[in-house]
């Protein structure tokens, strides 16, 4: 679904920048851990906060790394995936043989960092194209069903516009799903085509 203000050009630019950020996050991560993973953008969807949450798989608990953006009106950026996929990703990245049914505290912390890197890289790259984002608060980890998560997370004042990017995490010959969610309309802040040689 496209926002009335998300033109195809802006949409395309947005996705490119997002992919760039994801690739960098993956590269930075690989430098620190034994395993490798690639993060790829599958597509974007726009809508209000709740409706976007409704599109998420409802039968699983989601692990969500959330960072509040500054200024507050810029909303919250989220990165999340299913708990099972999160465990698989972690154990692959860390080279673990013994897996518990639930993540340990240390593993949760590691997953938080992974989400934080992805979010920061996206913010960093989007920040080059956009204005108005001053920073992001430290990441926090949530575990909830999508319906409960949408109400549990601090919701921005205006949650009518949000963007949900679907990601594919490739590792161990498999592709798991993850999502990035902005509240607010990040593409609105994308600079005029002059930056990229096009008129906005």
């Amino acid at each position: 679904m496209s926002s009335p203000t998300a033109t195809p050009d802006r949409e395309h630019l947005f996705q490119q920048v997002t992919q760039l950020a994801l690739s960098e996050a993956g590269a930075l991560l690989s430098a620190s851990v034994p395993g490798e993973a690639g993060f790829h953008l599958q597509g974007c969807r726009h809508g209000d906060w709740d409706s976007l949450f409704d599109t998420l798989p409802a039968e699983h608990d989601l692990l969500c790394v959330a960072q509040s953006l500054r200024p507050a009106e810029r909303g919250t950026m989220l990165w999340f995936c299913t708990e099972g996929d999160a465990r698989d990703l972690l154990h692959h990245l860390l080279g673990e043989e013994i897996r518990l049914e639930v993540l340990t505290e240390m593993e949760e912390e590691a997953l938080t960092e992974i989400g934080n890197r992805i979010i920061n890289r996206c913010l960093e790259h989007h920040g080059q194209l956009t204005t108005g984002i001053d920073g992001a608060a430290p990441p926090r980890l949530w575990r909830e069903r999508p319906g409960a998560l949408s109400t549990a997370l601090p919701r921005p004042a205006d949650s009518s516009l949000a963007t949900l990017a679907e990601l594919r995490i490739e590792h161990s010959g498999r592709g798991d799903r993850a999502w990035l969610l902005w509240c607010g309309a990040p593409w609105q802040a994308i600079k005029t085509p002059a930056v990229h040689g096009r008129v906005s």
Binding site: L100, T104, A136, P138
Partner: protein
């Protein structure tokens, strides 16, 4: 995550002591990333004092500072982005150490870092919060280790459960689990196969559906009455009930188990139908074996590997004289006494060698009462299924009777039955040994030959019983005059001999004289009569120079003759002259005897039947035999005097005497109408005697003998040595109707060639071939050959020496015409009346 998160203002406002006590590292960087705050915790764990780092960047102070931390600091300072560096991904972003240990430097300290942008009086900066991750890491390791162990246990448990189920499903015995109510809760495949039910047909049902009454009630009652206080263990032989209604023998075992608070029962059912049948068969076999062992006459004893008795049958108990309890479990050599030449008992020898051991008969078993039995032992090893020796079976046979019989036969073979003295054969054997001893050791012995005088008087007067008694009594007298080492023998008739062992001539003469005087003084009483006899004794010394036994014997015999010749009742010591005298006397002796016998008519005619075996219509034949009657009244067979008779040309006289006497008898006692053939032996001298031929023709005429009833037997040798005379003789008498038989045919060298020129009617097959023809194929072939030749030449065949039915049958099979021998009839005196043996 850290418990305290002080803001920058708090950091400024609070005294350093507070910052130092927050329990985490705090580093404040200015916009240029230079350290503005370095708390005590950082000093402690980095080894760097605040003064050492203040105003420097972390990169200046730590050469190996990781890129992720530098990136996070940049993100915070340039973009205001907060970052988290987890201890799990980085372990040690800063070179911090665990200072709790005494060693210098300590172990690296795992930690997490949160980087947060801050604003200090309008100036951007960033705050690093460093928290110790050791405890969290330890906790994680503990959890993972515990989980690993738990999962291992679970996996093992699952594996065991699977294995157990596989075993229970595939075991030959049926396994059924019952709940506390006695209902079937598990019915494994093994049980399904045995009973024919699907598990769904039986689950929840009582176990009784698998067992007929009363076993089902018994099991159910047992379960229901189980109070759970003690483990239940029940084993019973029952009958199982299959789905189709078929009953089978089974062994049922029930045991209880506690599963949590619940009680369950494991029921195992073993189909013992086959085992039952096997046990019954085994029992029958065992019973049969035991009955057999109880009935056989031989003793049977079984032992284990060390010779301890494990079984003994009634026959062995009887042999040994013991009770079973006295023998079972005891070592055989400690309870049963056997005297043997063998060093080792057969039982132990066979256990050692693993082979059957057969002791030669002659071992003596001494039973409990001390009675002795001669036994024969055979020990056979017993083996187990893999061939190892596990003991032995000993068979004991009481051979006392046969041993006694063998001893008796042995005694009889070497002793004279009448007197109990050594017989001639044994005496000769001992004499041979004495001669060898004399030669080897240079010892001297004496041989005495003794002949009774006037013995015939007692025999003639009182009969043979008196004569026998006299001999017995004289034997006792002889025994009393000699030593134990000496040998006393009866050589035959009234002849005796003694070997005086290691005895010089002088003492030997004394012994002989003593015997002579004892006999002279002896009076034999028989039925109110008293007789006196005498004895003539010849002595010869045996020493290293003595010749062989025959010569020694001859010398002693000669000495004895010399004693008789000198007047009897005396002892004569051998001298070389004695032999010649004796020889001459021997030959002359027969000449005189034969002459006297002829003069005194002391010959007798005997006959032996020759029976037809091929054609019943053939007449019976009778071979006429001659016997001389000695002065003592004894019958002397022709073999004793014929040689002398031939030497002194007396055969014609003897043959004529036979013919005359026979024709006289035939005329007087034989019915001429009766079919018979009388066979008369003719010597070679008779064949050449023309006067005899003339006389025979006369006698035939005088006595009106039917010439065809007369058959003359001439030996092949006699005929060939006087061939022309034989042919003339035979032709003349054949014209009258007489027949001829060729006697002892087959033993000559050129038998068949002369048959054509000798016109005979019968061939008498040499008895030497006949008597062994059943056992010897060559002899049989000879008999057959002679008979076949005879058949071709139209001659009838007669077999001599037919001693038994087997030979007779064999002769019949060959088609031989006549048979003669002890197996048909023995020779006997021609009766006074004309009745001879009937046709057989």
């Amino acid at each position: 995550m850290p418990a305290v998160e002080p803001s920058v203002e708090a950091l400024r406002a609070e005294p350093h002591a507070l910052l130092d006590e927050v329990g985490m590292g705090l580093v404040l960087l200015d916009r240029h990333a230079r350290v503005r705050l370095w708390n005590r915790w950082m000093e402690r764990h980095s080894g760097l004092q605040d003064t050492q780092v203040h105003g420097h960047t972390l990169a200046e102070r730590f050469a190996d500072l990781g890129e992720p931390l530098q990136q996070a600091i940049r993100d915070a300072l340039a973009s205001g982005l907060s970052s988290l560096l987890s201890a799990r991904l980085h372990r040690c972003s800063l070179p911090l150490f665990d200072t709790s240990q005494d060693e210098a430097g300590g172990q690296p300290l795992p930690h997490s870092i949160e980087v947060t942008p801050v604003n200090t009086d309008g100036e951007p900066g960033c705050l690093l919060r460093i928290s110790d991750a050791r405890q969290r890491i330890r906790h994680e390791q503990f959890l993972k280790r515990t989980l690993f162990e738990l999962e291992t246990v679970v996996a093992r448990s699952r594996e065991q459960e699977f294995q157990l189920k596989t075993v229970l499903d595939n075991t030959l015995d049926a396994v059924v689990i019952l709940n506390r109510m006695g209902r079937i809760s598990s019915f494994y495949r093994s049980a399904q196969k045995m009973f024919g039910y699907d598990q769904y047909e039986v689950l929840g049902k009582p176990v009784g559906m698998l067992l007929p009454s009363p076993h089902n009630r018994r099991v159910e009652q047992m379960i229901h009455s189980d109070d759970g206080l003690a483990a239940l263990d029940y084993l019973q032989t029952v009958k199982g009930l299959k789905k189709g209604g078929e009953l089978f023998h089974a062994e049922l075992a029930v045991s209880s188990i506690l599963k949590g608070e619940d009680r369950q029962y494991i029921v195992t059912i073993k189909d013992i139908t086959e085992r039952q049948a096997f046990e019954e068969a085994l029992y029958r076999e065992k019973e049969q074996a035991q009955v057999t062992l109880s009935c056989i006459a031989d003793g049977v004893i079984t032992t284990d590997i060390i010779g301890q008795i494990t079984y003994i049958n009634p026959a062995a108990l009887k042999l040994t004289g013991y009770d079973e309890q006295e023998l079972l479990g005891q070592r055989i050599d400690r309870v049963i006494t056997i005297e043997s030449d063998n060093k080792q008992l057969p039982v132990f020898a066979c256990i050692e060698s693993g082979k059957q051991v057969d002791s030669v008969s002659g071992d003596v078993l001494i039973d409990k009462q001390g009675e002795q039995r001669v036994i024969h032992q055979v020990a056979t090893p017993r083996h187990n299924a893999i061939g190892d020796t596990i003991g032995a079976v000993l068979i004991l046979r009481d051979v006392s009777k046969s041993h006694r019989l063998a001893n008796r036969l042995s005694w009889q073979a070497t002793h004279d039955e009448l007197t109990g003295l050594v017989n001639r054969r044994e005496f000769e054997r001992r004499l041979e040994k004495v001669i060898d001893t004399a030669r080897e050791e240079g010892t001297e012995h004496c041989l005495c030959f003794m002949d009774l005088d006037k013995f015939k008087v007692v025999n003639d007067t009182c009969g043979h019983a008196a004569g026998d008694e006299l001999l017995r009594q004289l034997s006792d007298i002889f025994r009393s005059k000699i030593r134990g080492a000496d040998t006393l023998a009866r050589l035959g008739g009234d002849e005796f001999a003694i070997i005086l062992s290691e005895c010089e001539l002088g003492p030997a003469v004394n012994v002989a004289e003593n015997i002579r005087m004892a006999v002279e003084d002896f009076r034999f009483g028989w039925q109110d009569q008293s007789f006196q006899v005498g004895i003539s004794v010849g002595l010869v010394m045996v020493d290293a120079h003595s010749p062989d036994m025959d010569e020694v014997f001859k010398a002693a015999d000669s000495a004895c003759y010399a004693a008789k010749d000198a007047g009897r009742n005396r002892v004569h010591i051998y001298s070389p002259n004695d032999v010649e005298i004796s020889q001459r006397r021997g030959e002359a002796h027969w000449l005189v005897r034969i002459q006297n016998a002829l003069d005194e008519d002391r010959f007798e005619l005997h006959y032996q039947p020759i029976v037809p075996i091929a054609d019943d219509r053939d007449p019976l034949h009778y071979e006429i035999l001659i016997r001389m009657v000695s002065e003592d009244g004894e019958l002397i067979p022709p073999g004793a005097f014929i040689t002398s008779a031939e030497r002194y040309q007396l055969m014609s006289k003897i043959d004529l005497w036979v013919i005359e006497r026979l024709f006289t008898w035939i005329e007087a006692h034989w019915d001429h109408r009766a079919e018979a053939v009388f066979a008369i032996n003719l010597s070679g001298q008779s064949l050449a005697d023309e006067s005899l031929l003339y006389r025979v023709k006369q006698l035939i005429d005088e006595h009106a003998i039917a010439a065809d009833h007369i058959c003359f037997e001439i030996t092949e040798t006699a005929a060939i040595s006087n061939l022309s005379q034989a042919q003339l003789f035979m032709d003349e008498l054949r014209e009258l109707g007489c027949r001829f038989a060729l006697d002892d045919f087959g033993s000559g060298l050129s038998s068949f060639a002369y048959l054509k020129s000798l016109r005979v009617d019968y061939l008498k097959i040499d008895g030497a071939f006949v008597k062994d023809m059943v056992e010897d194929d060559i002899d049989r072939a000879m008999v057959e050959s002679i008979h076949n030749i005879g058949s071709v030449l139209k001659l009838r065949t007669i077999a001599e020496f037919v001693e038994d039915d087997a030979i007779l049958q064999a002769l019949k099979e060959l088609g031989v015409d006549f048979a003669q021998g002890y197996g048909i009839a023995r020779p006997r005196a021609l009766p006074r009346e004309g009745e001879l043996l009937d046709r057989l």
